[in-house]
Symmetry: C2
Subunit: 319 residues, 2 copies
Amino acid sequence: MSDLPSFVHIQEVGPRDGLQIEPKFVETADKIRMIEALADAGCREIEAGSFVNPRAVPQMADGDAVFAGIRRREGVAYRALWLNAKGLERAIANGHVDVNGKLTLTASETFVRRNTNRSIDDTLAQMPEWIAQYRANGIAVRTLGLMAAFGCNFEGYIPEAKVLDLIARAEEVMAENGCTLKTVSLADTMGWASPLQVKRLVGAVRDRWPEMRIKLHLHDTRGQAIANAVAAMELGVAYFDSSVGGLGGCPFAGHKGAAGNVSTEDLVFSCHEMGIDTGIDLDALVEVARMAEGLVGHELPGKVMKGGTLTRYKQAAPH
Amino acid sequence: MSDLPSFVHIQEVGPRDGLQIEPKFVETADKIRMIEALADAGCREIEAGSFVNPRAVPQMADGDAVFAGIRRREGVAYRALWLNAKGLERAIANGHVDVNGKLTLTASETFVRRNTNRSIDDTLAQMPEWIAQYRANGIAVRTLGLMAAFGCNFEGYIPEAKVLDLIARAEEVMAENGCTLKTVSLADTMGWASPLQVKRLVGAVRDRWPEMRIKLHLHDTRGQAIANAVAAMELGVAYFDSSVGGLGGCPFAGHKGAAGNVSTEDLVFSCHEMGIDTGIDLDALVEVARMAEGLVGHELPGKVMKGGTLTRYKQAAPH
């Protein structure tokens, strides 16, 4: 495990990616309370809300008020999601969003058509417009997010070569438009990845782009998310998305109650037990997970919040 | 991942280790139905019941009837638990138990004293009696189970050197009594292990005893069980205990509803996705997990039973 990083940087996505699927509206003040508690626990990057169609995602209708209401903590990046030019404009106009220049592709043709009514080629063709809009606002584009990078319920496993080809094509478009691709975020959107597949894909990306920062967005739909994260960390991956308490279900799973995003506290526990720092206070984070459970009104899938941390045992132990 | 085994052998422990903690008595006929369904799904070793004090574990009071009632399937070993000479005698007398000669130690002095009112030395000193009782019944002793081999709520992390020393001492006692230690089963009884610790301990045991079969009994108390299993498989470990649906809670966890045994179907999913055979039909196993959920009357922690297998997607996928 010689490539294990010494520090893992986690983007907490619970307040956005986690909450957006919840049917019960979480009050703006409660969202803000959760986001502030996450920052207090040591989270340094928090996806705090989105600027999308409020009719499509009513839970996120209060994006402007959430960002405006957060008591900002120094050193914390408050991120948002947008899906079109208007959303990005709203995020920038809000004035409290740490806007990162990110482009998104989907590795499954069927999935992207169903979700956006556009093909992969259409998405690539639209990238120059995105880049121009970011640039007009003084924001450099350096990140590519690749959805369904491991498997897709409509297309099966995504071949490694296809993922590499899509990254290369996006990199080319970016270069033609004056940007340099620095970070690739690989998302296991439908929970298909295994630790072996993670090692193969991460290894292939690392072989081809040795300087690229690789980030993983893992789902725990089939219980493999922590194992997948560890597999990636063994290859030096040090950037992950995760969701406090495992907030957020999976609309693509076969059964109600399926898990979605990997739980932040389970991931932090894993890191700390392997000697990897995260900057996060695990016990404080577990309290936020319990707060989140109260806010959504049902049990969350995180394990450490139920099993308990080891802190009190370690303090009492003779060695 | 060059040491990944081609086949992983799973002992299904749900009907005993999983059910024993359940407050609602599961009828004998239902236990038998579950055990038979597990065998039909391809499980080749099933811990089907125990011969312990029925006042201490009322759920297991029907051990004799369960074993007598199972429609036995060829090639399946039906295992039981016993904790003293009388229990072993009952298991042998039952006539339907596949009795394996196994000795048990606990790596934490405090934990073994609290559980059994005996010290580690006392436990070692009692081994010759156990061996003699097995031998009188024509059963060879070849297996050592080591509880709390990674960490203990009372003693903290268990040092690797202590684990190696205990294995060596048990091996010596066994050799002095005409037995050869062939299999060591390392149990993460209280859910302390991390993937890094698993690699270190398994590596250390493998270095010292290259021919030893290593087995892991993992708990998912803090969400690390699949990652721990994968870490072990990467070092060639091919023997695991697990529990269908993740049946069985954890009496040592800090919170009600904490997970106990790693879920069999999540482990089988992990194996199959990495090209490792288990002999188990995952879809059939998921049906048993749902049956188990119905029998205990509450949600079980297994993920694949909620997320669904990938079978139907793979069948429909173009590649």
